[in-house]
């Protein structure tokens, strides 16, 4: 992005991929314990755009992220997710990643006995379809690790094992840089980071945006990260739905007023729906 007017969002020029989420309904739990968490999510993210999803704790933001990535814990009960027209929901987890989706997790998982370097290379090989050339690969990894201010000894550690919160998030962004996805979902990548780490991690995301027309779905609870990563759109997410959408100015409104009004509206709406439902059942 060289100037604001040249952004794909602003010009409407086709720049890469489109992720389309339509009326997505998701439950967790089985049988009688099944609980609907996503209640009809609609969202379109184009390559080059950055969408911030902001919502209170428990509103279903991680559920949305995991559902797109294909975590087995979540059951899709309705709706569609497509990437460039392809049915994402029909793909296995690894196929989704190879199709160009990437999820930076809120809580990255420890994998004992698997070194970061082995993991990264295996992942890169899987995503690109061939083993990366050793020399350029080592250089790429080193360069990006240095940019993320990660010690090179890091590569020999086991994946996420004993990592601090900040190290885990840097490691997630390192993967984003190396795997070069078309769509990146960043689930609270900012939470638990001090100001320095937040800046370093944000710069990593901005480098990815500068290098390729990646679409970014930036999930966050706070507005803080939006000072470093500028969103084109802001969506307010409450009780499993997008309840308001706008431009960056919406973030400022949330900063000033919080989620209270939305949460109240949403509760009232849910109550109305429940009454309506009961009425039809009688």
């Amino acid at each position: 992005m060289t100037s604001p007017t040249a952004t794909p969002a602003a010009t409407g020029l086709k720049a890469g991929s489109v992720l389309e989420i339509r009326d997505l309904h998701v439950t967790v739990g089985d049988g009688d314990d099944a609980k609907e968490i996503l209640r009809g999510v609609d969202l379109t993210v184009r390559g080059g755009e950055t969408h911030a999803i902001m919502g209170p704790n428990g509103s279903g933001k991680s559920t949305l992220a995991y559902s797109i990535a294909g975590h087995p814990k979540y059951t899709i009960t309705g709706g569609t997710v497509t990437l460039d027209g392809e049915d994402v929901l029909a793909m296995t987890v690894d196929e989704r990643a190879r199709a160009g989706l990437f999820l930076a997790m809120q809580y990255p998982v420890e994998v004992p006995g698997v070194s970061v370097s082995n993991f990264l290379r295996t992942a890169a090989t899987a995503v690109t379809g061939e083993a990366p050339k050793l020399r350029t690969w080592v250089k790429d990894v080193r360069t990006e690790m240095a940019a993320l201010e990660m010690d090179s000894a890091f590569a020999e550690r086991n994946v996420n094992e004993g990592f601090s919160g900040g190290e885990k998030k840097r490691h997630e962004i390192l993967q984003m840089r190396l795997l070069k996805p078309k769509m990146a979902i960043l689930d609270e990548t900012d939470s638990g980071l001090d100001v320095d780490a937040l800046r370093i991690v944000s710069e990593g995301v901005n480098r990815a945006k500068a290098d390729s027309p990646v679409g970014v779905l930036l999930i966050t609870h706070y507005t803080r990260i939006l000072r470093y990563i500028k969103p084109d759109f802001v969506h307010v997410f409450v009780a499993g739905r997008v309840v308001e959408e706008g431009g960056p100015e919406l973030a400022q409104k949330l900063e000033d007023e919080g989620y209270a009004a939305y949460v109240k509206d949403s509760a009232e709406q849910a109550a109305t729906e429940k009454t309506a439902l009961e009425a039809t059942q009688q």
Binding site: G70, R96, E110, P112, G113, A123, A126
Partner: protein
């Protein structure tokens, strides 16, 4: 005092047992009195931690652990009744133990029929073939039965161990000179040459004060073998012991490993059991002074019909010592059976103790059975931390999801996770060639695992 949260265990567990334990504090004087009674050196067979040498054994100028007393009146003669029901019976006399019937706590998991030949205890002159690599500073020698060195060793805890002590008729002794820092590991390659006669063996490894050594016991071949080993660490000594069981099918291997950790000494023990029909190893650790450390790592991989049993007993009887137990095992095949018993005892005198034990079993196929029994007894409230966790289950869904979400296919992800599961323990050995060899063996065995491809793709 802080406590240790052991419940942040993310694996997919069939059984999850965690503990966050501490006990009421005893009055200080009361503890001190109890301690003096309990832990004086030279107390009788049934009391206290594994007994330690009451006198120096005069070996190679080393300071064997236990040659010095650490507080408390020196009692000699009569055993002191401790009143604790958890006290272990120990004796050098095989007949002091009843013949195992399978109902005894220490034998209830073991397939006694397979152990029969060992438990019958017939004398034998059969030996394992020994090939040794001895760096400078390490001396291999032997002592006759009745040598004072043997009298001072921790006593056998079961009939097989007592038989072994008696039948082995002396011992092989490895001495690491005081302050020696070995430039490479001591390797004893112990090969079985047949299963007709039982091989009885006893090894004593004496590590002089402030010495640093790694000792590898590399078991292979076919044998019916019962081998005791005692590792005596002088003050400030650092010893890594690696015991590899890559036995041929048909092998039965029993053994009691006793480690006596001196003041500020540190022991790292890595037990890797891959081969043999039946392997049953009892590892005991005691401390003779303050500041001792013991890291006990174990790895086992039980296939069809293999029985692999590891029993641990860490006895904290002195202040400010640390122990850490990590045993991981994988099982495949309907009859595969592993047993892990982890006993940790923190006696009243062992204030400032820090201990953690973990057993994790990965069940690769239906029908395999992993028994896991952690047991933590704490008799003082003044500890740093104490915890244990035991988990037995299938693949960890979260780990597989994480790998797959990076484009790695489910089959490769499973291999990475299992390989990592093993590598996690193997990498503590610190000898690259041996690590590579063990990982290759494991990979070959994983390759011969058709079920791995057929496992339901839970992250699909």
């Amino acid at each position: 005092m802080s406590s240790n949260d052991t419940s942040n265990d993310t694996s997919n567990t069939a059984e999850l047992d965690t503990a966050d334990l501490s006990t009421a504090e005893l009055a200080h004087e009361e503890k001190a009195a109890l301690a003096a009674e309990l832990f004086a050196p030279g107390v009788g067979a049934q009391a206290g931690p594994p007994t330690t040498p009451a006198t120096a054994t005069g070996s190679a100028g080393d300071t064997p652990p236990g040659a010095h007393s650490h507080g408390g009146p020196v009692l000699t003669g009569q055993p002191v009744p401790t009143g604790s029901p958890a006290e272990r019976f120990t004796s050098t006399d095989p007949d002091a133990f009843p013949k195992p019937t399978g109902r005894e706590e220490e034998w209830r998991f073991t397939p006694l029929r397979r152990a029969r030949q060992l438990l019958d205890g017939a004398p034998s002159d059969a030996r394992l073939q020994v090939e040794s690599d001895l760096p400078e500073g390490a001396v291999l020698t032997s002592v006759e039965a009745g040598d004072p060195l043997l009298k001072g060793l921790p006593e056998p805890v079961d009939r097989l161990a007592a038989l072994t002590r008696q039948r082995s008729n002396g011992a092989t002794v490895l001495r690491i000179a005081k302050e020696a820092v070995l430039d490479r590991p001591v390797t004893l390659r112990l090969s079985g040459t047949g299963a007709e006669d039982v091989v009885w063996g006893q090894l004593v490894v004496e590590v002089g004060a402030f010495a640093q050594a790694t000792v590898v016991l590399d078991h292979a071949g076919l044998a019916k073998y019962s081998g005791g080993a005692a590792f005596l660490l002088g003050d400030g000594a650092q010893l890594t012991v690696v015991s590899v069981q890559e036995w041929a099918p048909g092998t039965v291997h029993g053994g009691q490993y006793d480690s006596v950790v001196g003041r500020d000494a540190s022991l790292k023990q890595i037990v890797v059991t891959l081969g043999g029909d039946l392997v049953r190893l009892v590892s005991n650790v005691s401390y003779t002074g303050t500041g001792g450390q013991a890291d006990l790592y174990g790895l086992y991989f039980a296939d069809e019909t293999q029985h692999q049993e590891h029993r641990l007993w860490v006895d904290h009887a002195t202040p400010n010592c640390r122990s850490n137990v990590v045993y991981k095992g994988a099982l495949q095949g309907e009859q595969a059976h592993s047993v892990w018993i982890g006993d940790v005892r923190i006696r009243p005198a062992a204030t400032g103790t820090e201990t953690y034990e973990l057993n994790r079993n990965l069940v690769l196929t239906d029908g395999a059975r992993a028994d896991s029994v952690p047991n933590l007894e704490i008799e003082t409230g003044e500890i740093v931390s104490a915890g244990h966790a035991s988990a037995t289950g299938r693949f960890d869904d979260e780990q597989l999801f994480y790998l797959c979400s990076r484009g790695i296919d489910a089959e490769t992800a499973r291999r990475l996770v299992v390989r990592g599961f093993f590598a996690d323990v193997v990498q503590h050995i610190g000898i690259p060639e041996l690590q590579d060899r063990l990982m290759r063996t494991i990979e070959v065995r994983l390759g011969a695992l058709p079920e791995l491809d057929e496992q339901p793709v839970e992250v699909g």
